[in-house]
Amino acid sequence: MLEQLSWKVGGQQGEGVESTGETFAVALNRRGYYVYSFRQFSSRIKGGHSNDKVRVSLKQYRTSTDYTDVLLAFDQDTIDLEAGEVRTNGIVIADEKFNPTAPDHVRLFAVPLTSIAEECGSAIMKNMVSLGASAAVLGLPIETFTEVAEERFHRKGQKVVDQNTEAIRRGYEFIKEAGGADPSFALKSADGTHRLFMMGNDALALGALAAGARVMPAYPITPASDVMEYLIKKFPKVGGVVVQTEDEIAAMNMTIGAAYGGARAFTATSGPGLALMMEAIGLAGMTETPAVIIDTQRGGPSTGLPTKQEQSDLFAGMFGTHGEIPKIVLFPATPEECFYSMGEAFNLADHYQCPVIVLTDLQLSLSKQTTEPFELEKVIIDRGSIATPDMLAKERPDHGEEFKRYLLTETGISPRAFPGTQGGIHKVTGVEHSENGRPNEAVLNRTNMMDKRLHKLEGVELAGSLVRTGDNNPQVAILGMGANIGAIDEACERLREDGITAAHVHLHTLLPFPVQTLQQSLADAERVVVVENNATGQLRHLMSHFGVEHPQVSSFLKYDGSAFLPIEIHHFVKGMF
């Protein structure tokens, strides 16, 4: 009996690969398995190979496997491209329709997926036939999929439900009769615990909703669009609004306008959009306007690899915009962290009155995985320093002069008055300004105001800036970010099996860079390996830039658009010993 396995479906984009993978994954998640699903696709709607790889396990892994146990192929291309990673004696289920051929190291089952589907009512039900066939191979009860099919189709009437369950049953029986139900592929049964199944983008959207975000201007871009698409469905329930703007410049400026107006506002984009937002991000910094920006990183530069994994916007996110402003940059690693990071991001933006960038990477944003249920009570809304109408009426009875929006304080943080508040009239400008917001280029004022803004985050290290797991005094500490959490964890496990002690340091906050904490968390390691999805080692450079020192640091970089596999990190590190 297997404690984990890897199943992959592939075919032409647009022929049901995604829905087949989704149904498979949801069904197993409901049985209490941990599921991790990562889809490979290209920037086109129809045609081109696409696949969805689903890992199913009894304990949580946050990445795909190095190999595939069962490959479900809707076309010969899928076998030609993907059978290489199917393990020896692994199973390939293929549609008999295209007379499939497969390499010798796998066992091929040609199943009349399309003909069975047609007999059941329609060729599109071949995905159901293939799920039935998969259930038989993996020793899963057929109800695993029929229950999901019933739920999905009950609105379309009993006939459609019956046709689909019949398709599943026929696929299941075909494999049984063909001798494909091999006990060595059977999955141990799971405990039935109910958990969520979602992608990072879903969690970001839910996090924003829970954090009180009510205005989201955004421009569609892969891989960020899900966030706006989800919230435009949800916001009517809470009085919020998503505006699909004409471009990212408008999105960022509109976000700033709404935040200035007192709303919790944010936008979501990817690298090209972030580049367009840079001038306005400077405006948010200069005018001390809270604004949250999600950057779901993809392959750059320029249009780059729009549907592929990369972590190359670190510098852009941290240092982007002309001039110098305070900024906070977070980088969650899991859907749970995506959810709670949004609450944190809005609180930080309101507290420090500066832009907060939440980075993800494509793998985190789009891969769907088993997720512990979110707890709304843990999302505390703290709007920071606000001058309320009552305060203004008490403290400023005469309304004589303008409200000092940029009052010089010890912390550098000054109360905000929202437009519409009596007694709070003041000016806001991207020009250097005095305490009441009027343009002022005087030398002393300039220095005071620059110091005020930059002082807000000086010496600050945010709680939870990184998480360290694994051995004490390890031979190696592996430092990473974002979706690489899963591959690094697994590499560490395998290194330990090889007798190499290992720790995993996962960085969650890039700005303010946790200099002390990171220094301490690496200090006991013999060697440090920095794992990141970019070509120039941006995180490695950040360590040097901020003065985090270690005598033995190496970089392991990947920038071919694909996600790190555990085996790659394992081999790289092992090769050092």
Partner: protein, 291 residues
Amino acid sequence: MTTTVTVKDFRNDVRPNWCPGCGDFSVQASIQRALASLGKQPHEVAVISGIGCSGRISGYINTYGFHGVHGRALPAAQGLKLANRDLTVIAAGGDGDGFGIGLNHFMHSVRRNMDITYIVMDNHIYGLTKGQHSPTSAHGFTAKTAPAGNIENAVVPAQIALGADIGFLAQGFSSDVNQLVSLIEQAIQYKGFALVNVFSPCVTYNKVNTYDFFRENIVNLDKVDGYDPTSRMEAMKTVIETQGLCTGLIYRDDHRQDYEDQIPGYQTTPIAQQDLQLNPEIFAETLKEFA
């Protein structure tokens, strides 16, 4: 609580850095007079401006004021309106800001039709950067960046606005303050996106499009018998015939809904004043979609 407001309430002690004789002084005064005559309280109004000489206007009126980046006054103004629909939001700037760098936002603001007023001080020149031609400079116009004469055609703002199907379009002239005040009042009261494009001469850098030039060339629609501002056809014909040099209420359509009224679930209480705490029942219901 102040009950009556006067023009004085909209004045502050800042001296504009505009040149003596600049048309923008009249625009500033007209906005102040219009706001007072509509009985607005200063704190209920926000002026959002872009970059350029005219962009400084948000600093010169005693209301909330936001001076953003070049060309982006409209997106910021729309964001503000979404956050607080009770505010009177006025976006303002120059022809470069609105019809050069910001033209994209102008077109889409017209299309989106939020309840805001956009006042453009159109002087056909870049003043703050000292005399380059602008998108509304005529073909052949000489400027620092067109020493042999402008070889591009001019943007005609009224034509573009009508082309994008604007709901309220007016043009004014800095020398006719009474008309301008009336137009700004109507624009603020109009429920939807309203443009008031004002011929506001630059006395320092534009020696062609002077007060006299506009006086001699403008057709004042207030004085055209039988002009029907509810006819888009007539409006477009007039704008083409006058090459855009007409003032008064050019077009107005009172039969359309603004953006805010069409947002599903958008509440009458401004977002900025709502309780942000999410209802746990809505949250629990939402999580079920991911089970």
